[in-house]
Amino acid sequence: MRQYITSLFRKFPLLLGFIVMSVAGLQARTLYSLTGKVMDAVSGDALPGAVIRLPEEQGAWTLTDTQGHFLLHIPEGTVRLEISYIGYNTKHTEIVLDRDIDTVFFLSPMTYNLQGLTVLADSPANRLRRSEMSIERLDVEVIQRVPTLFGEVDLLKVVQMLPGVQAASEGSSGFHVRGGSPDQNMILFDNATLYNVSHMLGFFSIFNTDAVKTMTLYKGDIPARFGGRLSSLLEVIPSDGSGRFTVDGGIGLISSRLSVQGGIANDRLTYLASARRTYADLFLPLAKNEIIKNTTINFYDLNARLKWKLDDQNYLFMTLYNGRDRFSISDMGLKFGNAAASLNWNHVISDRFLMQVFTTYSNYNYDFQASTSEMALEWISRIQDAGLRLDFTYALNNENVFEFGYTSNFQWFQPGKAIGKGTLGSGTQVQQDITMSPRQGFVNVLYFSNEHKLFGRRIELRYGLRFTRFDNVGPTTLYQVDENHNLLNKEGTEIPSGKFFHHQYGWEPRLGFSFLVTPAISLKAAYSRTLQYVHLLSFSSAGSPMEIWIPSGPSILPQASHQVSAGIFANLFNKEYEASAEVFYKHLDNVLDFKEHPDLLLYDKIETELRFGKGKSYGIELLLKRNTGKLSGWISYTWSRSFRTIPGVNNGQTYRAPSDRPHNVNIVLFYDISPRLQASLNWIYATGMPITLPEGRYWFYNELIPVYTERNSYRIADYHRMDASLNIRLGKPGKRWKNSLNISIYNLYGRKNPWAINYRMNTLGEQYLEMTYLFSVVPSITWNFTF
């Protein structure tokens, strides 16, 4: 389907879409212009290539252009219109033409899956015209072609190969976007906020790509309807499933997965259910070592998605996710995981007016346990987020599409609770708890934006404003610090349940501009301000499961950023290639770091450990992308710098942020050798991570104590890695039963990339550095099937 529509567009370039087939005889009457736009009623995307036809006037029809716009000249009177688009329900309507009319038609998608359409709506020509920039969209088909680690297709590993994005560390799910820290990335799964998306300590992400349709990464120019993080928004859209009953699955070295999808009630209701489970630990009982034999390491994911078409104006969507990791060794165990749910309602109010209602819930928690025969301890932590979002899209006319809405999220933070149980010598059972005070945050947001097209749509302006108010709500124990980070109230102030005791608010303007210089070249610029009211208390650069989030408060300021970006975008060689160059500058206020050697563990007075300052990032991102042909993929180069200046850290002097890695190259190539054989190859290069190294030492207590002069002033070795994969389609084509074999090699040439650096001393008393690396060459094989 996707190829068909692509070829259709090649045969009928943009201008042909405006050809009106006039009919003799019509010329005698007064002609009026009927202009408008055709949009997806669910996603709000423009639909290029939609057909607008006058069924009673044989031969009168036109196609929408790449922006979904159309123009017809029609005699006055009442006319019946038929608007159709492949994969969408045909719309019939009547219009009284007594003047020139400009209108918008929303088409509802059919209930079977047409992934290609999503890609086409986001066609190169469309992307060129849009004022939005710094956005990367990937279809799941692309994600699934990238070589894998241990055979697990991982959305976040692919995200890390996009320009301006870098992995937080080897094998990690965490990522830096334009110099930001990993906690500055908002990750939404069907609009539910996720706070930790790692499985197995970051080696895998929670996203089972069988249950994912697309992902969009906003690297700074975040739409006004979204916010809450400084650096990026990663929006993951679950797959709706097709109406056809299909079973997909895969069996890999460490995990297997199975998905079922189908439709009932004439496909008015479609469903998709997907499960994944690792089983590496199934083989551990075969080990000779008793400890390893009794070790458990596994995770599972369960996804479910329902899409229910109530009528042409109303759709309901429901998404459920549950995933959990389990580790246990000897008498210790760690369990952590996410649960997320969303229930969404799309309602087409009129041809011009679309309403979307999102209700979401997410819960991330972990539970660490250790025990002996006499005593036991348990440490639990939880963060929950419940949200409501109302989005309205109103097409005032052909030139203005307004979006406005309201978002509300209530967040419960239980940073940590430790429960100790034991038996005294007398045999008495006792229990003692240490609890970090719970904290609650309530965020309310109003937003408004408009996409305004000017000068025949050569210029597009996008302007919006987002107002956020953040309230702290009891119960909690409130600690406040002075400017020297000393506690003002050592015992804390008890805040009763439900009491709103502090609030902060802010304005977040968003501006975007695009100018179509030629049909193949556009210039764009954008400005955005974002605020972040929740903060991650973690040193981890690798997706530790035992993370703690806390909200802003009287002594914890919201982090803020201003980002400006500009770029030139081009479609080359008949849109076969897309090229872009973007520059950006980001200024951060109240950016958070910790004092040196902070105490973050179960410490209720955490305010004393935090330091706030300024940061800046800037850089240039170059991208060359090919979407069609036997050889496709992208090559990107990013040069960027990122710095922090925080009183109390590094003597108040500016220092490199952990994400400061100036050079980054990503090469991701896909090659269709034959219809049965597809090869993929990627190569990643990044300047080594900043590291703090001692420059001096002195004796104390029979130990040599290191002395540092500047934070992050050195770098570890550069990171580079090549991965390759081969996908072999098995069986005969055209059969319902399809299966394929994916062979992947991670780290093809066995590069030893540093994961940790530690100090060592040889027998002569000389210090040296020792690196720990995780992976050498890691081959894997996965068998995939569908029927």
């Binding site: 070790t295 100790g420 003692q432 050697h597 104590i705």
Partner: protein, 300 residues
Amino acid sequence: MEFHFLVMKNKRSAILVLILLPLLAGCTEAITLRSEDMEPRLVITGTLSTVTEYQVIEISSTAPYFGKDMPVNLNATEVRLNGEKLANDAPGIYSMGQEFAALEGETYLLEVWIDYDRDGQDEYYTATTTVPYVHTLESLVLRSLIPSGNDTPFVLIAGFQDTPGEDYYGGALWINNVLYSNRILRYYIHTLNDYTQDGEFLRYPVPEWFITKSLVWDNGETFDLYAGDVLTLELQTLSREYYKFLEEAKIEKNQQFPLFSGPRGNVTGNITGGALGIFGSYASSRKSVTLPECPGLPSR
């Protein structure tokens, strides 16, 4: 009972690393990365204790971190403690005599005059410490961690009366009068600031040492234990600045893991004038216990 949180707070990284080991199976390799050599800096270290013993202030200069050069001691022009001049017993070593004991609750002022930058004029460095009050170690018992209760591993349970408010504790272990805690990483520290049993009598399991037939010793060797060996625990009540210094020094000497470790940083001292080091104090109380005959311990 108090065991749980003390173990947890201090052993979290170790516990999680244990969990990670089967998963990670990472390999190590020496690398040639080196830092530049910094300009040498003056270091002044010294701790006062309430035990009557030979106590010293040491003055030295830093050495480059990488390389063969070691820090060297330096003589100062003058070193005074509460106005009294200290004897220069050896290069960079200044003592209060062989029989010195700091007094509980007393604040001591250390003053050092030294021409460190060799410009012909002395620079002046000072630091103060207030000696904490002794928390008397009233009981010391060995508790077995196995169900039968009569075999290794044992943990030492220290019984003492806590005082309300901020208290910083340290623990040093002697085995047959040999100081086992002769390195920071084998020395135990803990704060009970936020402890819910603040001010109560505590039976405090010291999680730093799990007593088995062989303990970790230097250079990959073991310190072997036998039935009948005498373990002596010194319960130290540390001055706040000394506790903080030890806490940060332990972090610096521990291994780093990206999952849990923060950035490296200088250990915070309390010497004014730009010198590194610490002038701290602690109050001491000791008690001993004898290792029993049990299946897990050989006899001498």
